[in-house]
Amino acid sequence: MSQSIIEQIEKSQLRTDIPKLNVGDTVDVHYRIIEGNKERIQVFNGVIIKVENAGLNTKVTVRRIVANEGVERIFPIHSPKIAKIEIKRHGDARRSKLYFLRDRVGKSRRLRDRRRGLQHATVVIGSQKAAKAEAEAQAAAAAEASE
């Protein structure tokens, strides 16, 4: 009850233009930076290793490698300072926090592209079923012919 009141208050500031972000996604975060009177946009490219869901205060941790040094930045995704967030790749993540990436070096840092998931599975299972049915039909036809 009371949580719903708070959600209603937060709703006015929630941003709808931010895509659904998942752990393992490679993203470009366009962040507004104000220097004196000027405003410019800085792009931070990296892998999301953590999503902290908290309504208006939802945050993502983005990790990238700068000059051989791991850099992690936490972005409140509903902040007006975020110009936009672009998803570059959907990585395959089997856990909710990708802290193991901190210990990885070189190529092992990369994540597989997301191929699993329901949609992919239905395609695979569907094609298997179709092949099986076809084989059975052929066998039946062959049996009929031999009779």
């Binding site: 009371s2 009141i5 708070i6 208050i9 500031q13 208006l56 205060n57 902040s79 007006p80």
Partner: protein, 234 residues
């Protein structure tokens, strides 16, 4: 109209806002801030009794808040609120007012959150969360004793309470010293809280910062009686 209401604490969140902030030496810069906000549901309150100088010795209005079922209430409360022409209420609290304000008030009058619309700062009074019987380290921030070097069984004890001379020569400890005891579950006043927003439809009051007590706890909100210097400047 008294600028005071009874309500309950809903919870906290953080909201984005643009504010002028001091950056470095004196320059004010308009920048984005993420402010801590407490959401309070205040009112509607009803005037359940008018106390006058002649009759009661002082001028005050008694406010009532929060519906209660008749079977959960007492005949005394039902009768008292019935006299003002309102259904029984859970919480009653008095607000001192000037004699001049007394004339405007009438029994059963509804007071809503819009009395806070023009007010920049409010005081919030509530009962803090009870911590039970607490030692001096938790209650007063004492350092306690060493963990090692021969200290045995008194790592969290307060230590000395003074000698004969420091205790006024009485040989007894001074009264009012910081000791272990009940912590929390007592009335706390938070002065001069900034009002962020007022929602008349939902009876909500948003204040900046935290308010004592648990969510759903009863709070009493009034116009800030005395402002801190820095807030007066604003």
């Amino acid at each position: 109209m008294p600028k005071a209401l009874i309500g309950k604490k809903i919870g906290m969140t953080r909201l984005f806002a643009e504010k002028d902030r001091h950056v470095g030496a004196g320059d004010k810069v308009n920048m984005l801030v993420n402010e801590p906000v407490t959401v309070l549901e205040v009112g509607p309150c009803f005037v359940s009794q008018i106390k006058t100088e002649d009759k009661d010795g002082y001028n005050a209005l008694q406010l009532a808040f929060g519906d209660i079922k008749g079977r959960n209430s007492t005949m005394q409360v039902i009768g008292h609120d019935g006299k003002a022409g309102i259904t029984p209420k859970r919480i009653h609290r008095e607000v001192r007012v000037d004699e001049s304000e007394l004339g405007e008030a009438e029994l059963g009058q509804e007071i809503k959150v819009d009395v806070f619309e023009e007010i920049p700062y409010v005081d919030v009074i509530a009962t803090s969360k009870g911590k039970g019987m607490a030692g001096p380290m938790k209650r007063w921030g004492f350092k306690g004793q060493l963990a090692t070097h021969g200290v045995e069984r008194k790592h969290r004890s307060p230590g000395s309470v003074g000698g004969r001379s420091s205790n006024l020569g009485t040989g007894k400890p001074k009264k009012g010293g910081k000791k272990a005891g009940q912590m929390g579950n007592k009335q706390v006043t938070v002065r001069s809280m900034e009002v962020i927003a007022v929602d008349k439809e939902k009876n909500l009051l948003l204040v900046k910062g935290s308010v004592p007590g648990a969510n759903q706890g009863v709070v009493y909100v009034r116009e800030a009686i005395r402002l801190f210097k820095r807030k007066v400047a604003k």
